[in-house]
């Protein structure tokens, strides 16, 4: 494999993996506070539609990104209302939210099908301008890509270095103990959904405004579910999610390269690999006494008597 093809894979993986990373970061925050959001796919769709619509209306892609972030947070709050306040089952609520979002996103986005936008501008990766255009063109990134890894670092810092993060992780482990420490687990979960929703919105914005640059129904292509798998694969750690996002998105690009080298593996099978690996990771980790998953993941906090 030549350097060029390797770099090509890398570039492709970065482009398609950015939205995955943002979404996964959002889900990491959710799951660290004990919530599984299967409706993430829907959150992405609504955010993408809103962001795209805003960009078309105003002509300003940055505004579109902002709108996508807000939309993501709002949709997540619906999930929060069902799961935190009404104490509904998380899985069912997530799926219901997904269906809702299919409809809402189409409603918002369909008037804009076929419209084109000013996409987020791309910039040279600093320091590469000396290389030939062949290489440097692979690494012309938009703002969101540049911010992706810093975002991961920020999430890591938030979860592991701040007082809020400590409390948030505690909720995901044991909400009763967190309550005993004088905190409000419900409020923390709402905050987590708000943050996570904004991050997912960023991911959606990248798909619609920076990458695909159009709107079609179901355009997120299952990224929401991939993100959930990615979170598990990264064992709920924001920094490991970076590697995971790259791996998950690289699979298709790898297939092309392999094909060029004469090895013909179906792209479908390659796409299975991340999931199979995730299951293996779970089995391997399940054998250890230390469970990597937040201990109260999926459990609905009932509150004290």
């Amino acid at each position: 494999m030549t350097i060029l093809s390797f770099l090509g894979i890398l570039s492709s993986a970065i482009f398609s993996g950015t939205s995955l990373l943002y979404t996964a970061l959002g889900e990491v925050i959710h799951e660290r506070t004990g919530m599984v959001n299967l409706g993430l796919e829907g959150v992405l769709l609504v955010s993408a539609a809103s962001g795209f619509a805003a960009t078309v209306q105003t002509g300003n892609p940055y505004l579109g990104v902002l709108v996508a972030m807000i939309a993501g947070a709002l949709v997540n709050l619906i999930f929060g209302f069902l799961v935190i306040t009404r104490k509904a089952n998380q899985l069912a609520s997530g799926l219901a939210l997904m269906f809702f979002s299919f409809g809402l996103s189409a409603l918002i986005g369909n008037p804009y099908v076929g419209k084109s936008i000013h996409a987020l501008p791309r910039f040279e990766f600093p320091g590469l301008s000396n290389l030939s255009t062949l290489y440097s063109s692979l690494f012309r990134f938009d703002l969101l890509i540049f911010l992706a890894i810093p975002a991961a670092l920020l999430v890591w810092w938030l979860l592991y270095k701040t007082k809020w993060g400590l409390g948030a992780r505690a909720v995901g482990e044991n909400a009763d103990i967190t309550y005993a420490s004088g905190r409000n687990p419900r409020l923390i979960q709402y905050q987590a959904l708000f943050l996570g929703g904004m991050l997912a919105g960023l991911g959606a914005a990248h798909i619609a405004i920076a990458y695909a640059m159009n709107w079609t129904e179901y355009m997120t292509g299952g990224r929401g579910f991939i993100a959930v798998a990615l979170v598990i694969f990264s064992r709920w750690h924001p920094l490991r999610a970076i590697v995971g996002a790259l791996l998950f998105s690289a699979s298709v690009a790898v297939q092309l390269v392999l094909q060029n080298s004469g090895i013909n593996i179906s792209p479908f099978l390659l796409e299975c690999v991340p999931y199979i690996v995730t299951i293996l990771v779970l089995i391997g980790w399940g054998g250890h006494r230390k469970q990597a998953a937040p201990a109260s993941l999926g459990r609905v906090y009932q509150g004290s008597k």
């Binding site: 007082k163 505690a170 005993a180 230390k290």
Partner: protein
Amino acid sequence: MPKTSSHKKENTPLLSLDGITKSFPGVLANDSIHMDIYESEIHALLGENGAGKSTLVKILYGFYRADQGTIFLKGNAIQIKTPADARHTRIGLVFQDFSLIPAFTVAENIALFMANLSPVVNLPAIEKRIRETSDRYHLEVDPQKLVSQLSIGEQQKVEILKLLLSEARVLILDEPTRVLAPHEVNALFLTLKNLRQDGYAIVLITHKLHEVMNVADRVTVLRKGKVSGTLLRTQLSKEKLIRLMFAKSLGSSRQIAKKTPSSISPLLQLREIEIDGTDSGVSLKGINLEIYPGEIVGVAGVSGNGQKELGDVILGMERYAHGKKLLFGKDATRWSISKVRRSGVAFIPEYPLQMAVIGWLPVLHNMALTRTWLYSQWGGLRVDWKKMIHDTKSAFTRLGFEIPQLYVTVMSLSGGNLQRMTIARELLYNPRLIIASYLTRGLDVQSTLAAQQALRDARDEGGGILLISEDLEELFLLSDRLIVLMEGCIVGTFTPQQTNPIEIGHLMTGSKVPHGSIS
């Protein structure tokens, strides 16, 4: 750290509980309790299981709200509605089951409960503070270790450090020595004494007399929800305490006409059974026990000293590390629960609602659960309810119990009815070996007599019974042999004639080395 106080006792107690009353459906947990907690003092709260100790401290910590009564802080009435309020009042509680997060490090757990944690958490600084405090009070533990990797004793140290670093000045410890080895207990008491020196007010909940005698400056004894007495250190004596703890007049033991156990092979043999109790905290050590046909072996002990583990071993629930179990002469160490039961062993567990029945299924369905195959028709497609009804009725009438409504859910039964149902079910198939825990808990006089007679009948027909109970009178009444379980070991074996309730009470509360002989 609170200021080092003078050694003179303060006149106003730091915390005062007055007239605290709390009831739950069906039980009056606390009845007009009055208790004064002073600074620089270790105040022991003594009582049997179910006496109301845990409820009281949960009220103090804001988990429950008292129905009546007031809490005073230095003479001023205060309200404690949530744990946040309690922490604000600088009251700290170490639970019986620790409130530590296994996936967090020691430092993270402590930081979670710290009073003035900065928004950006500076873990190294916190770790430094932890080391300083732990050195001062001999609570050695590595702040960077994950709690899941700590031993129970170390976890307890973390719990105490947590309180200290959250600037609590009232430290409540709920049965702290339950899970400690003897040398760890000594270390703990040393720590407590140092803390007392530094002005902390310490409340120590326990059921062990020797601890009280060792360390307490003041003792409040609870019995069935009420304060039965408060003693100062100068007034303490074991006899006084036992009398305050155990209500019934412990008269002389009764002589019962009993059958001598036959010398045929035992129904149950436990040889050197050891269980590692890291989950529950109670390990069984070196258990050797035999039950012969035609005898009732009573197990005395305060609940939580290994009774559940013992029952679980016999049932087949426990994966034990060492030892051998023989049932009816065969090596049953690896038998499944189903096989154990089929061989003729019945279990009346301590908490039937959690351990024996399915709450929202009706009585009739629950009655069928231990032997579903007996009622299986058409290869399992149908259940012979007629037969089940018939068997159920005969089970109850045989015991002289009233037949309950068969189609109400078990959840809606009163405690007494539930207990009767469990007994009836377990005795239905004429088991050869019966393991009965707290048989007559919740039963009225008539049913109690009926249940006790049922046990005697089973024994007279050649059955063997292990009777686990806290009720010394019952044990003395029924047992042919009596053993005492304490911290996972059998600390004494007697026949009722050889001993008396006072001596057993001592052994149960860990205050005397036994000298009883084995019959």
